[in-house]
Symmetry: C3
Subunit: 339 residues, 3 copies
């Protein structure tokens, strides 16, 4: 694509040369003369003047002298669109690898690609255009939607349902037994783990993340939610739509999470917590069992508090040595002068 074509694609205003051939996208500081970069913010715009990029996406109303630029309302989003056009996903020839084991009672739609050593059990279904990597395992009655990508060594336990355009990265497990026991007669008896996992459309889940099935009901991950690597989602958790959950976060059983919730990494959420829509949980935040995080609140710390309160507490904590000193001094003055 040349720069004119990219400007049209992203609906932006070209300044400079329209016939520069662009072969890919790159970071501002690494881009070469046939690559597209983007610059948002003052620091990036200052760097843009020195960039070797063939073309730079910049915010509307800005300019970079001497460079070919495309001005758009949202440069980073335009960059995503251009990258999708310049780097289309690898074309994988549909077909079932000869070493894959596909039950005759499984149902595969058109244009499905099944990698080496994948296993698809009885009753499972795979939607059109979905790609299953090497060694992927789909248990009995698993339903996978259309245009999904399951990377190598993903395991989906029996009965789970994935929507369309779901991406599961390598080593993800969906539908493992929940962690529920009843202690009786000196040992832990396993509570029945008979429920299901529902992963809705457009969900992406990172490497080696684990999502347990509901014990009796369902574990649900809502449409458009994105989950990072090594996250734990326990039995009967319900996560809403368009949430973002960073790596190594752990969500205990029966937690309810609203829509558009954001969690940093290593968050820990006790069981039966409710996190309402648009709440933000800072990295490492810990929510005690049964608590409610209110709509739109930002919380921080362990146990978590509203961000303002956390900051104040933290400042006081830092000031504690001085406070102790002050109390000692007051004590001395009181003693010395008046006793």
């Amino acid at each position: 694509m040349n720069t004119d074509e990219i400007a049209r694609l992203v609906g932006g205003t070209l300044q400079g040369e329209g016939k520069i051939e662009i072969r890919g996208v790159a970071a501002l500081e690494a881009a070469t003369s046939d690559e597209l970069a983007f610059a948002e913010g003052d620091r990036a715009l200052a760097l843009a003047a020195q960039s070797q990029a063939g073309c730079i996406l910049i915010p509307a109303g800005k300019s970079v002298s001497g460079r070919t630029t495309i001005a758009v309302a949202h440069p980073k989003l335009a960059f995503i669109r251009a990258a999708e056009a310049l780097h289309p996903p690898p074309v994988v020839a549909p077909g079932i690898h000869r070493t894959a084991i596909v039950s005759p009672e499984a149902t595969l739609a058109a244009n499905v690609s099944v990698g080496p050593h994948a296993v698809i059990e009885r009753g499972a279904g795979v939607g059109a255009g979905t790609r299953l990597g090497a060694g992927v395992y789909l248990g009995e009655d698993v339903q996978v939607g259309a245009h999904c990508v399951l990377y190598p060594h993903v395991t989906v336990y029996p009965g789970a349902r994935l929507g369309d355009r779901v991406i599961l990265h390598a080593g993800v497990t969906i539908g493992g037994d929940g962690f529920g026991y009843v202690f009786a007669e000196g040992r832990h008896r396993k509570f029945p783990q008979l429920g299901q996992v529902i992963v809705e459309d457009d969900v992406e889940i990172g490497c080696n993340t684990t999502v347990d099935r509901g014990s009796l009901g369902k574990t649900v991950i809502g449409q458009g939610t994105k989950i990072d690597n090594l996250v734990q989602v326990a039995h009967n958790v319900r996560i809403g739509r368009h949430c973002v959950i960073a790596a190594q976060t752990g969500i205990s059983g029966s937690v309810e999470i609203g829509d558009y919730v954001i969690m940093g990494g290593q968050v820990g959420i006790g069981d039966h917590v409710r996190v309402e829509d648009r709440a933000v949980l800072g990295g490492g935040a810990g929510i005690l069992p049964g608590k409610i995080v209110r709509r739109g609140t930002t919380v921080w710390g362990r146990p978590a508090r509203p961000l303002d309160e956390f900051k104040k507490m933290y400042a006081n904590l830092s000031n504690l040595p001085r406070l102790a000193e002050k109390v000692k001094e007051l004590s001395r003055r009181l003693a010395g002068k008046y006793e």
Copy 2:
């Protein structure tokens, strides 16, 4: 099974209709007329009156008017027993899948089921009725007991020993090298990792959890202990019997854990810690290296303290802004009045 039969099975007292056909178990609020539910606690018993369940297990001495109930000493435990009868584990036909690679020098007992693409190396042994999922890997000389279930993509390194009725969920690794190095001549030299892992009878381990071999000695997980997903058990750790360890907990090298210990999620235990019998470690608790958690103690926080002390400290912490204010006021009064 009908309700009479279930009452007999769980040793309970039926109130209502004995010939209701029950096909499965379900949660109180979701159960239908051919399903069994249970109700414990006032809230659940209140809900029970509205439940559509065909039959409800309730505590002895309670009743729910207008519903068919079975009164038992321990409704949840009775529910487990009924669920085991109503939902027997899937019958897997014994046999070795044609794509599995089994060494001629491995020993497989009767009625073993080996899934597609599983690999069993030389000297390994598998006990009667054990089921190995797709892609399971058993290294040389691994011994697996009877009636175990290893889900897809489990890796067992050479020499590990699993007891009977062990359940390893998808992606579990047993026997990886411990993390031990000696820094010399400007680089980290690997300490020998030659030890073993012993997993005793009735242990269950969740998805993607990792258990390292002993460096020289053994890593041991005691009988009946249950471990959740994404837990790290380092080299030479010894975990006692009937412990419960929730997700994402990390246990460092050479830690000793007694019997009946309970740990919440995301607990972190430094090396050479000793956790005595029946201790409880709250979610996110952190134990500094070399510490001892005494028998029966409940600890909380990071670094962990006894629960009472933690609560008091935490209350004081919350009160810190007021305390600082008070000190300022005292200081003013002292200055204003007497200087």
Copy 3:
């Protein structure tokens, strides 16, 4: 090997019997008459007198009466050397298992061993003497150096590069997509994840650890660095040489880590942090986004502080109930006496 030969191998001074046949290494308390142990520190040296070991490595200048010993400058290092000689890694016959799927467009050097059900895609290369375990997956254009060991179920996404003598334990994923999205029009759009992972020589990575590719640039793990189990390394992270990173640590996007850095378990590092050479991050430490940990500093706590400061703060925190009491008392005295 006999004790004379071991003394020569480690360059130590034998005291006692030179012709004792030694067949392996063991811990001091478990070693038998044909095994070698080591003793460092007073406690171990005291134990050495009772050890059944055939021979004990001890520090130069020390002696253990009645036992055959070899005195060396660094007993633990000498123990490593002897262990390497006594327990050579298992000889794996080179060859490609008949069930492995190797692209005709992949390049395999001499003496490579490829396990059952491994998959090597087009354009990938594997160096001399490297061993790929069962089910290992190498994506397109992956380059693996010489004398590496990849344990079962490792997944390497397309384009990653591993140096020589790299060890990846079971379930490791290299090159998964970074966790980057742009929120626009009510949903999260995936930022392009087109970058690479570079793992340099002599790196070892523990079970089920995940290393993401750079979004546009590279994720780099420097020479000789050792990473434990279940660690998360995000996109565009750069880790220097000879670092040690313990289990369950999470490193966010674009973090830069110097050389010889040490991290305990469950450390959490926010994005764009810089950790300079030889810094030490205590177990569970949390570094806020954008912070710098200075060269050689030891930090602790969450948010992390220099160790001295953390200790002082922690002592003050423990003392908080008494401080509150003191303030109350001052208040009473001030009120009682002078108002």
